[in-house]
């Protein structure tokens, strides 16, 4: 069945080693969660996973929120709540715009409906090979399994997801899906499919995957992607990736199916200026991920690549029923995964132990609220309520309070015998003499019990006694005796003014009004030369190279030198007029060693290039060849992402595809060590000149 996909060759030779609760498509925990989590502590490799997650937490979450990011966080919190205030309205507007742009919109209530829609598209178009980029929505509806059952080859193309597909596992983290796997694990897995040795360094492993996936991108009939944000006012779908697979999936196959859950919509295209940087910062403390693909409709007449059909599948799966209720805010989530890194329970047991599509704090809240409420019923208890997730969350979702409220919902749903105990306990303790009596009884009983029997009592003591000495309840009442004997008379004292009460939790503060801060906190560059210098510095930080030339002619010569006589694909861009004559041009980007492009804009603060698709301006030129050279006159420089997004929002007609490129293709899916040049170019040169 895996005849058509090259990447999946040898998959049947893999012997899965995962526990049953790490399987894809798991509907509910196979055993009660206390047991599953205990098994998770014993899973081989778990201590190494915990150590890795601890490092990521220190690196990504530890620094907390400081300007300008704290301001962006306030704005994002507002934008997301504004969205939820009229979700149906924004979805309606989005659907209208997407259709006007030439896309087809499908609304699906639940997973079955969503699967039916995608099945129909695949069947109608005779699809045999599908390439997918990372999408939690498709995990939620268990799409891969369904398509495979139809006889379609489905290939996960994100490096982490590809590893997991071969290993037959679910992602254990939203943005770092294979964080629980060591490079030795991955090498052993790749050797099974390859039927021979592969290198063990992360670079070798990434190269192995790249090579296997490359032909599949080229040959697939259909690309399936998720959606990070969907702008209602323009019908634009924004996708964030670092490897470049998201760009491949949305540009190479003739059909693009984007699957989103309802809450991914945002009111305005310009909101992306806040959300795209913030989601990258929250997840990995970089100002922008490498690639943002902004899709506004399928390919237009005259364009040589891009999909002929664009389908947007909007899945509800129980979410709209949360609107107006006390859990509405959970839909503000932008799926950054920061709450997972921040959670000490998650780091201790790993994401699979939650036995749910979504693990960690967001999973413990979301899972019982969507789909089958019984499947994730125990999850809200799998938290020490330490509150780290609320601090980490870039949109300020009060996850710990929701966990507390969900626990109440859980207890209210079932006739728990403990309810009677809690009621009696509360009544006794809400009455002074009752509390004192219970304290006396506790002391008496505890002193009568031999120490060995204390941990064997029914109730919470049994859990406590597993690995801890029992609390010294023989001390019950001692405090009051001590107070009485030494100080019989008591009067209220007159304290001075106390310290200021600590501030309560902050709420959104109407931050739409705030000016958008620059991402580097620096004032805008004074002139074009300074902007070019800043751009070059920013490029260096993301492993690309800026070349500042003193004239247009010098710049053109530099571009030709960088191409060095190798087969070159070049786009038809006003800044490149006459350039093609100086280069050994090939028509097909797949045959080129270098892709030469102009840009629409270049952002000084982040080193980001904004490329737009159009007739003669292919999506592939800056993506498919292993090297990318961009020629940029100073006049195309803008200081900030905010200004860039604003300018792009004003483009008429709106391009069918805008790509933001910040540096070279990168993956951190193997033990979180960065490797470069995964699916997109591994070398990016930006040639700048006054003009």
């Amino acid at each position: 069945m895996t005849g058509r996909s090259e990447a999946l060759q040898g998959r049947s030779k893999v012997v899965p080693t995962r526990p049953d609760w790490a399987a894809p498509g798991l509907d509910r925990p196979p055993r009660p969660l206390p047991q599953v989590t205990t098994e998770a502590l014993e899973r081989p490799g778990q201590p190494a996973t915990t150590a890795r997650l601890d490092i990521l937490n220190r690196q990504y979450v530890g620094p907390g929120w400081a300007p300008p990011w704290s301001d962006l966080r306030e704005r994002a919190a507002c934008i997301r709540r504004e969205t939820l205030g009229d979700l149906e309205g924004y979805l309606g507007q989005l659907s209208e715009r997407v259709e006007a742009n030439g896309g087809v919109v499908h609304r699906a209530g639940g997973p079955a409906e969503a699967l039916g829609v995608i099945e129909e598209i695949a069947t109608a178009n005779g699809v045999e090979l599908v390439v997918k980029s990372k999408s939690m929505a498709t995990e939620e509806i268990h799409l891969n399994h369904h398509l495979e059952a139809m006889g379609i080859d489905v290939v996960e193309t994100d490096l982490g997801e590809y590893i997991l597909q071969l290993a037959d596992e679910r992602p254990s983290h939203i943005v770092a899906p294979a964080v629980h796997r060591s490079k030795e694990d991955i090498a052993a897995l790749f050797e099974q499919v390859a039927g021979g040795p592969v290198g063990h360094r992360p670079e070798d492993l990434a190269a192995f995957a790249r090579q296997r996936l490359r032909q599949d991108f080229h040959r697939a009939d259909m690309g399936i992607s998720g959606v990070n944000f969907a702008a209602a006012d323009t019908g634009t779908l924004a996708l964030v990736t670092n490897e470049g697979n998201g760009r491949m999936v949305t540009s190479q196959p003739r059909i693009h199916v984007a699957v989103m859950t309802v809450e991914k919509v945002v009111p305005r295209f310009t909101d992306l200026a806040v959300l795209l940087p913030l989601v990258a910062w929250a997840a990995t403390r970089v100002p922008l991920s490498v690639y943002q693909t902004l899709v506004t409709g399928p390919r237009r007449p005259g364009e040589r690549d891009g999909p002929d059909q664009l389908h947007l599948v909007i899945v509800d799966n129980g979410r709209t029923s949360l609107l107006g209720g006390r859990y509405q805010e959970v839909l503000a989530c932008i799926r950054c995964g920061a709450c997972q890194f921040s959670c000490p329970v998650y780091r201790t047991v790993g994401g699979h132990a939650y036995a749910s599509v979504y693990g960690g704090p967001i999973g413990a809240v979301l899972t019982p609220l969507i789909g089958d409420p019984e499947a994730g019923a125990e999850l809200p208890f799998l938290s020490s309520l330490c509150g780290a997730c609320a601090d980490a969350c870039p949109v300020k979702i009060p996850l710990p309070d929701m966990l507390v409220d969900l626990r109440a919902d859980y207890e209210a749903r079932r006739p728990d015998p403990a309810r009677i105990g809690w009621a009696a306990w509360a009544r006794a303790w809400a009455w002074g003499p009752g509390f004192r009596a219970s304290s006396r009884v506790t002391r008496r009983l505890w002193s009568l019990l031999p120490p060995g029997a204390r941990a064997a009592l029914p109730g919470p003591g049994r859990g406590w006694g597993a690995g801890r000495s029992m609390p010294p309840l023989e001390h019950a009442g001692e405090l009051r005796e001590w107070l009485r004997t030494r100080r019989p008379g008591q009067r209220p004292a007159q304290p001075g003014p106390g310290p200021a009460p600590p501030a309560g939790p902050e709420g959104p503060t109407g931050a739409e009004q705030l000016p958008h801060p620059g991402l580097d906190g620096a004032p805008p560059p004074a002139g074009p030369e300074e902007a070019a210098r800043r751009l070059s510095q920013a490029l260096e930080r993301v492993r690309a190279t800026g070349h500042i030339c003193s004239s247009a002619e010098e710049a053109r010569q530099r571009v030709a030198d960088l191409c060095a006589g190798r087969p070159t694909a070049i786009e038809d861009h006003p800044d490149l007029v006459g350039m093609a004559e100086r280069l050994p041009v090939v028509e097909d980007a797949w045959e080129a060693q270098v892709g030469v492009t102009g840009v629409e804009l270049a952002v000084a603060e982040t080193g980001t290039l904004a490329l737009v698709a159009g007739p003669g301006r292919d999506r592939s030129t800056s993506l498919v060849p292993p090297e990318h050279v961009a020629l940029v006159p100073f006049s195309r420089l803008v200081p900030s992402v905010a200004v860039a997004v604003e300018r792009l929002a004003a483009l008429e007609p709106r391009p069918s595809c805008i790509s933001f490129v910040t540096g070279i293709s990168r993956s951190s899916d193997i033990e979180h060590q960065p490797v470069y040049g995964v699916h997109g170019p591994g070398k990016v040169d930006v040639v700048l000149y006054p003009g």
């Binding site: 206390p34 205990t38 502590l41 937490n57 220190r58 000490p344 329970v345 201790t348 208890f381 020490s384 309520l385 330490c386 509150g387 780290a388 601090d391 507390v404 626990r407 109440a408 207890e411 403990a418 809690w422 009621a423 306990w425 509360a426 009544r427 303790w429 809400a430 009455w431 002074g432 509390f435 004192r436 919470p460 859990g463 406590w464 690995g467 801890r468 000495s469 029992m470 609390p471 010294p472 309840l473 001390h475 019950a476 009442g477 405090l479 009051r480 107070l483 008591q490 009067r491 209220p492 004292a493 007159q494 304290p495 001075g496 106390g498 310290p499 009460p501 600590p502 309560g504 939790p505």
Partner: protein
């Protein structure tokens, strides 16, 4: 001023509350102990029984309302009063809860603000466990170190992940005992790695859990409440 000892102090760990009284008296405070006090209700709320949590919250407010200030050696309980009381109570009770939150202080906050003149000296090497509810729900991130910093001869060695949860989590510690204990082990290992004799915190819940685990494993590290450390550091003319 009134002392809210917490139910853990009343039932199992009287030491920190006693020490808190001694330190507050050394500062010149007259400490009252309302006999009707019991529990803030956090265990009930966090176990999924908000009705019971509300009952105890109202009882707590009634007990402490006559006092101008309330001080407690339990950071988690104070955070519960500040954050959860106004959230779970309704109508006039919510207003009374907000009023109480305005005059309820955690012990280290109070000592940091008003214990400036205390003569303190103690020869010890300690590390600080920043307990979650104080650190996050209460937003108090300085007072424990600032009080410890006033003790002559005391060395603070910082451990890695000082603000990571110790794994207590109230009923979590009994529902998921093995996970809870694994988290305590990580915490204790970091304290030991830092070279501390004592792990100091301002939360009796965390301390009970950490001490119980340390005792079970025979770990040389002791978990101690800030109030006890400060009491031990009081000069001879101090609180005795």
């Amino acid at each position: 001023m009134a002392l809210f000892a917490s139910c853990i102090a009343d039932l199992a760990a009287p030491g920190p509350a006693r020490a808190a009284v001694e330190v507050l008296e050394a500062m010149g405070c007259r400490v009252s102990f309302p006999e009707a006090q019991s529990c803030c209700g956090q265990p009930a709320l966090n176990s999924g029984f908000p009705g019971e949590g509300r009952l105890l919250a109202r009882h707590w407010i009634e007990t402490f309302e006559p006092f101008q200030a309330v001080v407690s050696p339990s950071g988690s309980c104070v955070a519960h009063v500040h954050h959860q009381f106004p959230r779970i109570l309704e109508g006039p009770w919510a207003a009374r809860a907000r009023d109480m939150a305005g005059r309820t202080y955690e012990f280290s906050q109070f000592v940091a603000a008003y214990g400036e003149g205390l003569p303190l000296a103690l020869d010890a090497t300690v590390t600080v466990h920043d307990s979650c509810h104080m650190w996050r729900a209460l937003g108090e991130r300085r007072s424990v170190r600032s009080v410890l910093g006033r003790i002559e001869g005391l060395r603070i060695v910082e451990m890695e992940d000082a603000d990571t949860c110790c794994g207590f989590g109230g009923t979590f510690s009994a529902k998921f005992p093995y996970v809870s204990v694994a988290m305590a082990d990580a915490k204790l290992a970091r304290g030991q790695g830092a070279g501390a004799q004592w792990m100091v915190s301002a939360d009796p819940g965390c301390l009970m859990h950490l001490q119980a685990r340390a005792a079970w494993k025979g770990s040389p590290l002791q978990a101690r409440h800030l109030a006890e450390v400060v009491r031990d550091a009081l000069g001879p003319g101090g609180g005795r």
